[in-house]
Symmetry: C2
Subunit: 340 residues, 2 copies
Amino acid sequence: MISDPMQGAPTLEEVAALAGVSRSTVSRVVNNSPHVKADAVAAVQVAIDKLGYVPNRAARSLASRKTQVIALVVPESTAKVFADPFFASVVQGVALRLAETEYTLNMVIASEAAPEKTRRYLLGGNVDGALVVSHHSGDHSYAHLGLTLPVVFGGRPLSASESDSYFVDVDNIGSARTVTQHLIDLGRKNIAMIAGRQDMPAGADRLAGWRGAMSDAGLDSSLVEQGDFSPRQGAEAMRRLLDSGRPIDAVFASNDQMAAGALSALRERGVSVPGTIAVAGFDGDYFGETSEPPLTTVVQPSTGLGEKMAEVLVRLLAGEPVERVTIMPTALIVRGSTVA
Amino acid sequence: MISDPMQGAPTLEEVAALAGVSRSTVSRVVNNSPHVKADAVAAVQVAIDKLGYVPNRAARSLASRKTQVIALVVPESTAKVFADPFFASVVQGVALRLAETEYTLNMVIASEAAPEKTRRYLLGGNVDGALVVSHHSGDHSYAHLGLTLPVVFGGRPLSASESDSYFVDVDNIGSARTVTQHLIDLGRKNIAMIAGRQDMPAGADRLAGWRGAMSDAGLDSSLVEQGDFSPRQGAEAMRRLLDSGRPIDAVFASNDQMAAGALSALRERGVSVPGTIAVAGFDGDYFGETSEPPLTTVVQPSTGLGEKMAEVLVRLLAGEPVERVTIMPTALIVRGSTVA
DNA sequence: ATGAAAGCGCTAACAT
DNA sequence: ATGTTAGCGCTTTCAT
């Protein structure tokens, strides 16, 4: 059998004995207190190294009433579409940034069936703060968590007013306007929209951005179909658009996955892209990079978004002043799906 | 400012007082001890609900010498390619499965620069067990961790002998043979291989499987180029293959990402697929699903792999007998890249 | 600058 | 079946 890992781990007390100082002094050294004489610090360091001492988190947490744990809350529905490369990148950014700190990353899958369980866990003093990513969820039972626990959201929370929650996001409306304008500048007039779920900020805002650009240009903005951000539903939406019989010379989809789906529907109907219909997406993930033709899209700094979320929370926890809203930059990338 | 979340959290002692029993009894109820009378259980439950009591993990961990934490160790290089959908799915499986247990998932990014930091953390009594995924790493400093801490690997560990580590994997050799045989059955004779990194088991084994099938069929197995599992290097490998001037009528790539890259190289050279060259991949991820044409591939149950890893570790931790090696089933999926 | 002492909230023998 | 008694390993006043 495997030996108990917690067995025989050297304690602070043993370090103190070996260094010939009190436990308090060792504790101070471990916590970088400035009030310890240099030689004492040295002696303790030697003892720590010799023993391979690692502070016990549980004891430390119990005594200090701080957990040094940050929860990354992922609604279960989002977890199921972990396949979403955008989401995976955000998680990656969070993990990378947190690895540089003393915080530990606790990934929590929030079952939509038992939201109370998650709430209790988060509010039960098990974590110092939480990061909530819900690209794909309408569930915002976490919106009010921010009143009790430091929380940073990935993407603007739907239900909470901007004034009382911290979040990191991109300018979805503005970016959607930009892609749409690109399509308009190309001379396209009948630009359809494959919108994402409207119970999600990203879905609603991108639709709003498209509408804004269309009406500013005096174009009709009634060509809208909806999908759930998946390639499959993107393809289905495209087919419905085609079947409507209305003239279409361009399509803007709420994300690259749906745009890629639209591309396959177009291919199966023998419609040339961008010749007959130009297609643009949003996200800048590899669905768009590897599609045929590659997609014109709005690139979001997905890893950067995760890093920023972690950073905002860490600073919040450190008591530093932090801006409630952080908007990350996006960039329009023009590729073969709109320009031959 | 935000109120201290750990402030005022009801303690076991308060529950005991309200229920009119001792702390031990409350503890027993919380831990589902069978030795508590029904009415006492009821009284305690009422008190717990009324107070909204949540056990303090730190205190529990300190007293019980168990952390209830499982680390998911991700080598930093792997984290950077978190973009790998296969890997993301494995993580998803782990998280989903662990969410059903009492364990907490601690995601640890193991910096290759400071492997000792991770070792210390894992061995310092901060976790009960670890899950190591290193699809993309040659680093196996974790191989010997298994001697001290319960560890389950995703994929066969390279350096450790099978007899002393737990792992969950698929039959890479056999599956690679199967795809290759499919190509041979199609009448292809000059089948090239785009192999993955040979310092990784998956890379080496898939190459071996292809070799085996080729030599069994009496075919030449010298048409090999290597890549790092990325689409870009898959495309480059394909170009080198084409530039070699040797006849080629099929290609098997170590993963779908490289196969997708090969597809784009082929398209840019105007080579028809599967007409002139048939292409097959491995993994069953969406690179293969969304490519044009979609890829014939070996589907691995990626989420299932993660779930199984979690399950094996949980059972190991529970002291249940568990098989050291778990091989998950794969399936050959034939699509347009090999059959018109 | 350092030590002594008192817990943090819980579990785990040991009694009863 | 339930209560009592010690700690788990660390931080943190409070002295000195």
